[in-house]
Symmetry: C3
Subunit: 356 residues, 3 copies
């Protein structure tokens, strides 16, 4: 009698499949090229100068035009999906995301995650899994490091739960930890006409609010192509047959696509905030669907000089994105929750050149 | 008096325009770059490691990350359309398709076809044309070699028909003819975590059935962009004005896009079957339309060691794709025909690394 | 008390913000790579051989496969939008567009415009602005030079208007000014099978009309992706929320996308007219919307030898594109206006190889 054939397909990990301290090396490494940068731009609308033009990037001090920070983030994030969140009920949040090295065309990104927290829900049907994920380049240098936590179904509600362990996460990345992915900038070479704005670090003030004015309508083909570009296989973005029978009756747009669109819209007002140095936290307050039009506004929460650097300064930016509602009056929280059109609240540290 | 101006546009060849033994060099040669690979990935969802990562490809023995086999196939196929199948009533099938050399970014593919069979239909209004098409790289090395046959309209039903000649085609490519496009692989370097699966050649058995689980919904913009990427100009894929008045009232999705989507879905279960060495045959059982969700399952029909090679083995894989119907119960043939949701039956030889 | 925070977002220039002779350097420079070429091809359907294949381009005398002329044009045009036409009521036309240098993957394009004419409308609510825009590569060589004029709203109807000044524009680019972007071609190497047509410069005659036969239906995701690829931010193409409340209730397709689609369709009949040397003028007669199917036909208006060159000749081509109407009977003008399905009239000089 033949031995049983082992299962070939993966159903994804359930809550009880995770162990504290467990390390997961993710498939599939991915080499990024100039075409990825172009496609990312075509799908999201980026216009930040260093990511758009070799000439601009080299003039200010990059060895080449860097891959957009969020494109690198999505590629790293995408790898973790089949191992971490295939059975996720909800993506609850991310924190402590630091960009540690720029990525360039030709770089190959891979990802490794470690389970840093586990907590069963009181209904025993699911639990929260905390992972710290790191993206590496082909020289094994860490490029991105972040924590995310997801609610994952249990395979069996009666399965024993591990000791609850919730990691302590910083409310924001420390200023001293910013800037590792940004080479020293020649701020005199940061041409304000080519970059699209005369405003520098010193021109922004805590409390300042900026409506990013424009709106962008999302199509199914766009968010699907973007999400596949990142090799993110979460079913909810691609399968209308099953999603049509689900809670929303629609495919959900990958939250990362929403973040990228909001970032692209933010060019109008933050054109010189050319690099995202950290993501302090993010909340996908409500789902976005194809046909919706996304708007965004930002508040400068804080401004900070970087220790030892006079070339760039850090702006802590809270960007709020809405659907089907312009942001001229800065919609945000209402009562205990959010203004009903809000879909995203994102807290980042962005770098901008200092005055010459 | 001026000579008459010759016609500038092509109406395509009709059945009576083909001659046995005729050779057709096709327009337009096409140089593939990394952007084509990225776009292909964004449109179809591939995750096979050697095609995704330079590092992985080089580690196992490729000189660079190869262009996806099916992308190369579609580009070669696309060139033949305006010369062979512009007046096709139906694409009847392909056979004896062998991948002979890997293609890499920077390679330029061109195509040449030879008419190897002709058979008028009994109604005299059309006939079947058999062509052997070859794709070449810029060094005039054959990269792909395959036969397809199409039913082509006659310009004039009364036109004389040639002696019928139907080529003898192999039911499957011989095992001895597999592997030319696959360099010797360092199987110890084939990292199972990075590739997404621990399963090797020896883990698959004839008769084994694998449900690929996931489904993917196709949008008009996606299949049009993919088909244009291959410079395939078949009208049925692009012209809603004329197709709206046609048999289906809709644009048809290029069958090759369906094959690519099914291949991408097959990653879940066949992640290490990294190279398609041959397509034994394919049938587009029913059309796929935008809005449909594609599912797929595969059966391992046969496993074969490759003569003289201990690095890779060949899996003969029959992949069946359905629309709007999950494949958990392996829908396939029913009575004389097919289960009504089946859209594709594809018979390939895929290579997977052997155990170390 | 703190100084007031300066406004960070741009509302775009109004008519009274333009001054005769004013020079505007535009954001954002953009480096084009092979991925841009592939994506352009996937979105528009180009098949002209030199732009498709390195081998073909080099054989005839290019140092590399050039970036499609219209892709370079759209990228340069796109940069001017936020500075020139964000408050445009209408894009009235372009003229005197000359292609001066080929662009290649790796080149970085930037743009500068000069205001060369201003004329307030009689209602005093808007005015026409004429700009000459130039695209430069990273060596500060002019690549493209053209004039366009747009009707721009006034911020304040009572604002004083400048002395009217309307530039004199040539009805067509002079033959002596054509060909700067086209290297000397080895016409014997211009392979008619690979290029898709045996017809050379001498085969075309003034007055000849060519129906380009095929039609292509446009999807929202396609025109949005194309327009973002050019970093053209005109709101009317992206924001269904606001456009849904506007004149058409729909997003408008960027006129340049229509031009590119018509150019791609013209391959069927003009396959060897491989290079657009000049755009004499263009009129977007009516808007195109997603779901519409575009058709096109061309008339050879004039043929001209190029002074000092025996390798290529110039065809003056008037291409007319229609929506949802085949062009077999060459629809064009009717009475004072246009046949109601016409969306585009475009007058170009295209180069084709001469007979050997």
């Amino acid at each position: 009698m033949a031995a049983p054939v082992p299962p070939k397909t993966s159903a994804g990990r359930f809550f009880e499949d995770f162990r504290l301290g467990q390390t997961i090396r993710h498939a599939t490494p991915r080499t990024l090229n100039g075409g990825d940068a172009s496609l990312y731009l075509a799908l999201t609308g980026g216009r930040f100068a260093p990511q758009s033009a070799e000439t601009f990037a080299r003039a200010i001090g990059y060895p080449a035009s860097p891959i957009d920070d969020l494109l690198a983030f999505h590629v790293v994030f995408g790898k973790t999906v089949s191992d971490v969140s295939l059975n996720a009920v909800a993506n609850l949040g991310y924190a402590d995301c630091r960009f540690l090295k720029p990525a360039f065309p030709g770089d190959t990104l891979s990802a490794v995650s470690q389970v840093i927290g586990l907590k069963e829900n009181s209904n025993r049907e699911s639990g929260v899994v905390y992972v710290r994920s790191k993206g590496f380049n082909q020289r094994a240098e860490a490029v991105i490091d972040y924590v995310r936590w997801v609610m994952v179904r249990k395979r069996d509600a009666n399965a024993a739960a591990p000791e609850p362990r919730v990691p302590k996460l910083p409310e924001a990345v420390r200023v001293a930890d910013l800037g590792a992915a940004c080479p020293r900038i020649d701020r005199a070479a940061f041409d304000p006409e080519l970059s699209g704005s005369p405003h520098r670090f010193e021109d922004y003030r805590a409390g300042e609010r900026i409506d990013h004015v424009d709106g962008v309508t999302v199509e199914e083909a766009e968010h699907q192509s973007a999400t596949r570009l990142y090799q993110n296989t979460a079913k909810v973005h691609f399968n209308q047959f099953s999603e049509g029978q689900g809670r929303f009756g629609r495919r959900l747009i990958y939250g990362g696509h929403v973040i990228s669109l909001a970032r692209a819209l933010s060019f109008n007002g933050l054109a010189n905030a050319f690099h995202i140095a950290a993501i302090n936290g993010g909340r996908h307050v409500a789902p976005l669907f194809a046909g919706d039009t996304l708007f965004a506004w930002s508040e400068i929460v804080e401004t900070a000089a970087l220790p030892g650097r006079d070339d760039v300064g850090a702006l802590r930016v809270r960007t709020v994105a809405t659907k089907n509602r312009p942001c001229v009056d800065f919609p945000w929280r209402e009562g205990e929750g959010y203004e009903p059109h809000v879909v995203l609240e994102l807290d980042t540290w962005a770098l901008a050149p200092r005055r010459t």
